[in-house]
Every structure is written in C-alpha cells, then in structure tokens.
Amino acid sequence: MNKDMKILVVDDFSTMRRIIKNLLRDLGMTNVLEADDGQTALPILKQGGIDFLVTDWNMPGMTGIDLLKEVRSDPNLAAMPVLMVTAEAKKEQIIAAAQAGVNGYVVKPFTAAVLKEKIDKIFQRLG
C-alpha cells in the first residue's frame, strides 16, 4: 500500500471526516482531501489525482451510493478503490453497494481496528 496516495474522504459530518482522517494518519497516510457530499466530491474526483475514495452513504445533495455509481460509470475513475463507511445497515443496502461495485463496506459506529483491517484488505486484493 502506497502511503503517499491521495485519499478523498466524503461525509456530511465534519466529526466523521476528522475521525477517518485521524485513523488514516495512524496508518501513515496523510495526503487526505475532504468533501461534504457527492456533489462536491465528484468535481474533485474528476480533476484527477485521487487514488482512494472513502465515502458515507446518507448525505444531502448527492448520496454516497450515487457517487459510487458515478465513479464506476466514468472510464477515468471506474477502477478507483471505494470504501463505504456508513450507518446504513440494511442487508439490501449492502447488497446494492456491492452490486454498484464498492470495494469495502464499514458500518458505523466502527472501531479503529475494523477500519484499518478493511483498508488493508482492499489494497491487498488490488495487489
């Protein structure tokens, strides 16, 4: 896993963005950008240079699942690893996220160990 990779954290709650940023910092990843919903995230992604997307689901404007679909349908972004970190815990939702092509799914509230494990797993799989 490249520690210098550029990560975009998308969540409408600044508290959660900060928590995720802190945990990423513990993993040695400090190159982190933030956005507060899909609508603000998408232009940042389209500009290029983002290596990893961590997004919430339930956000005003554009939700995380719609953002994920946008990412997968854009040929420039389609291969980007996406981790969903959300309070949405219905099986149907998790299945929908998986079908939309999510790489990992963490349900809030989570522990530091779980988030780290999922991130590790994503990058192990990608090699």
Binding site: D11, M16, I19, A112
Partner: protein, 263 residues
C-alpha cells in the same frame, strides 16, 4: 321547528323516531301535504345535524392542532399561514451543532495529548543511548551489576504503556462517531416534525373554512388563553437563543442579577 342538534347524534336518533311516528299518523289521516312537509323537515334536520357535527369535530381538531403547535413552538395562523422554522426543529438543530462542537473540542484535546505521546516516544529513543552507556559502565564497575538489564526491562514496560496510551486516545477519537450517528437520527426527526407541521397547516386551513361555513366560531377567548396562560417559570431546558432579553447569557449575568437582588 326542530330543536338544536349540537348535543350529538343520539339526539338525532330520538328526533328521528318522533318525526317518523308523526309521519305515520298524518299519512293515516290522509294529510299528504303535511306528510311532505315532515319529509322536508327530516331532510333539513339530517343536513343540519351532520353539518353541525362536522363543525364541532373541526373545532376540536382546530383546538388540538393549536395546542400541539404551541408545543412545537410555532403558532399556526387560523388561515393556515406557516412560519419559517419552528422552535422544535431549531432546538434539534442546536443539539447537532452542540454535539459537533464538543466532539471537535474533544478531538482537539486528544490531538494535543497525542503530541505528548510522540514526545514520550522520542524520549524513549534518547533513553536508548543512555542505556548503552550504562552497559559499558556495568562491565567496569561490579556494583552496577544487573542495572543494565533492569533498566532495559523498565524501558520496555514504559514503551508498552505509551503504546497502550496511544490506543486509548485513538479510541476516544473513534468514539466521537456518536455525533454522526445521533446527528443523522435527529435530522430524521427534524424532517418528521417539519412534515407533520406542513400537514397540520393544511388541516388548519380546512378546519377554518369548515368552521366558517358551519357557523361554529373559535372563541377569541380560547385563543388568548393559549398564548397567555404559559407559566413564565415553567422548565424549558437549555436556552438556545442566548441573545434573548429575558435570558441570561453566562454565569456573570446570573451573579449580577442575584447581587442586584441582595444576594
């Protein structure tokens, strides 16, 4: 003449039976025009009864909405004009803001604490150099025998404590996610409250119209009662509008007020 029907539908049934008997008796006497008149009266009677019942029902609804909306903190006008934001929604938004602010303050403190942990880590590095020196000296002085090993063990123990401390601090940061979780739930309730209010406004408008048509008036008295009867010292919980003239903004104001009262 049919008497007042406001007292309810049981009265309606009684009147109906009386009229029916009357109808039978005039028909038996062959007075057809009288019979037609009774049928007409029955018609009107039924109409009036239902109209009046609907009027009373509406009025009850109107009163219920009024008292509910005063609980919500938004006064609904009789013509159903909504006001912008309700106290209820505002208070809930305040909870989100407050918890967000506090979560960040907690994380600020944890960040500061983590810089001290980093410092401890660095000190531990410097300790290593000193230990090497102790190791050298130990060979030269018998009296120092075993000091190196014991100090090494202590250093390891201390490093273990630092690492546990770091984990605990990280857990404090992660546990701030309650703010996100509760915030999302509160937002849902805000939406619900707003929805209920919008529907109430619509119902209120309908109720006012029905009241006008049916002639059941809201007495001005009962409206005044609702606004004026509020106990000024009733517990209201935390104040979110500190700039309000009737609310103190900090402890100093409390002390000033009390000292002005001779305390």
């Amino acid at each position: 003449m049919i008497s007042d029907t406001g007292s309810g539908l049981s009265h309606f049934e009684m009147e109906l039976q009386l009229k029916a008997q009357e109808l039978v008796s005039v028909l038996n006497e062959g007075k057809l025009s009288d019979a037609m008149e009774i049928i007409r009266e029955l018609h009107e009677f039924r109409h009036q009864t239902f109209f009046s019942e609907v009027g009373h029902l509406t009025r009850g609804l109107h009163e219920a909405i009024k008292s509910f909306s005063s609980e919500l903190g938004r006064s609904l006008d009789v013509d159903g004009t909504p006001q912008t934001e309700t106290d209820a929604a505002e208070r809930l938004n305040y909870v989100i803001e407050m918890t967000e602010k506090n979560a960040h303050e907690t994380m600020d403190r944890v960040d500061r604490a983590l810089t001290f942990v980093d410092k401890l880590d660095k000190q531990s590095e410097r300790f290593k150099d000193l230990l090497l020196l102790v190791g050298q000296l130990e060979k030269e002085h018998d009296s120092l025998n075993g000091v190196y090993d014991r100090t090494c063990a202590l250093k390891e123990e201390s490093e273990q404590t630092i690492s546990t401390l770091r984990e605990e601090l990280t857990d404090i940061v992660v546990s701030q996610s309650y703010q996100d979780i509760t915030g999302q739930l509160i937002r849902r309730v805000i939406n619900l409250v707003t929805n209920v209010e919008d529907h109430l406004v619509a119902l209120m408008g309908m109720a006012a119209q029905v009241e006008r048509i049916s002639g059941v008036e809201m007495s001005a008295e009962s409206e005044d009662e609702q606004t004026n009867n509020k106990n000024p010292i009733q517990a209201e919980g935390p104040q979110i509008k500190k700039e309000r003239a009737d609310v103190v903004s900090d402890q100093d104001e409390v002390d000033d007020l009390l000292s002005s009262l001779g305390f």
